[in-house]
């Protein structure tokens, strides 16, 4: 398993378009993807899971991937969270 912590830089947090983009990107990987905030962990391929976290800009999250393409998945997904829009 690979994981990386990142501070969310998305202007309006992980909502709306960025949330859908994150989920679509996660679904392209075969690895199991999780997103963790504090003591809550959700399925990174589920839009409802992502929205349930209510991730605002400046929140520290941990992206976890477990599977064959875990390195690439963590890299791609953290870069979405760290981008400004």
């Amino acid at each position: 398993m690979k994981e990386q912590s990142v501070i969310v830089q998305l202007e309006s947090g992980l909502h709306a378009r960025p949330a859908s983009e994150f989920v679509s990107a996660a679904q392209r990987f075969s690895s199991k993807i999780s997103l963790q905030v504090g003591d809550k962990t959700v399925d990174g391929k589920s839009i409802l899971g992502i929205l349930s976290l209510a991730v605002a800009k400046g929140t520290q999250v941990v992206v976890q991937a477990d599977g064959q393409d875990e390195e690439e998945a963590v890299r791609a997904l953290t870069s979405i969270l760290a981008s400004a829009q």
Binding site: G13, S20, L48, L53, A54
Partner: protein, 146 residues
């Protein structure tokens, strides 16, 4: 949180915009918003950013506008499903609509996050689609969103 005067059953509608307009009009009737068109536009703009049709026939359209006086949660069940460009491609027949004032920073995100958490559970989905009376629905939803 959900008030019985903000529940609509059997809404007849022919489009996403028409659906949003009918629910927003209810919020105008109960004095929660001022200009209907401005609020409808805010909700439509949000849908443009990405659909709130999260699957299972449920959508959570929401909008922020200075025409909204106080945060309001509404519920609508449609007489006929309408296309919502949903993530799973299915039309929508059940909606939670969240309207918040322009200066409400994270209020709607909190409600949205609570709803999202509940909608992951199929029994919640089944209940909100099947409970027949307004009072029972309001009681159920408010207990679940506690």
């Amino acid at each position: 949180m959900l008030d019985s005067q903000h529940v609509l059953f059997h809404v007849t509608t022919d489009s996403q915009e028409d659906t949003i307009r009918k629910v927003v009009a209810l919020a105008a009737d109960t004095g929660r918003i001022k200009d209907i068109s401005a609020v409808v536009q805010a909700v439509l703009d949000r849908e443009q950013e990405g659909t709130t049709g999260f699957g299972k026939g449920i959508a959570i359209p929401h909008g922020k506008s200075d025409q909204v006086k106080e945060p309001t949660l509404l519920f609508a069940r449609l007489a006929n499903p309408v296309d919502w460009n949903s993530l799973d491609g299915n039309p929508v027949d059940t909606l939670f609509v969240i309207l918040v004032p322009a200066d409400a920073a994270t209020e709607h995100l909190k409600i949205l996050s609570k709803l999202a958490r509940k909608l992951m559970h199929d029994d919640f989905v089944q209940q909100i689609k099947s409970i027949a009376s307004t009072e029972a629905l309001v009681q159920y939803v408010n207990a679940e969103l506690q």
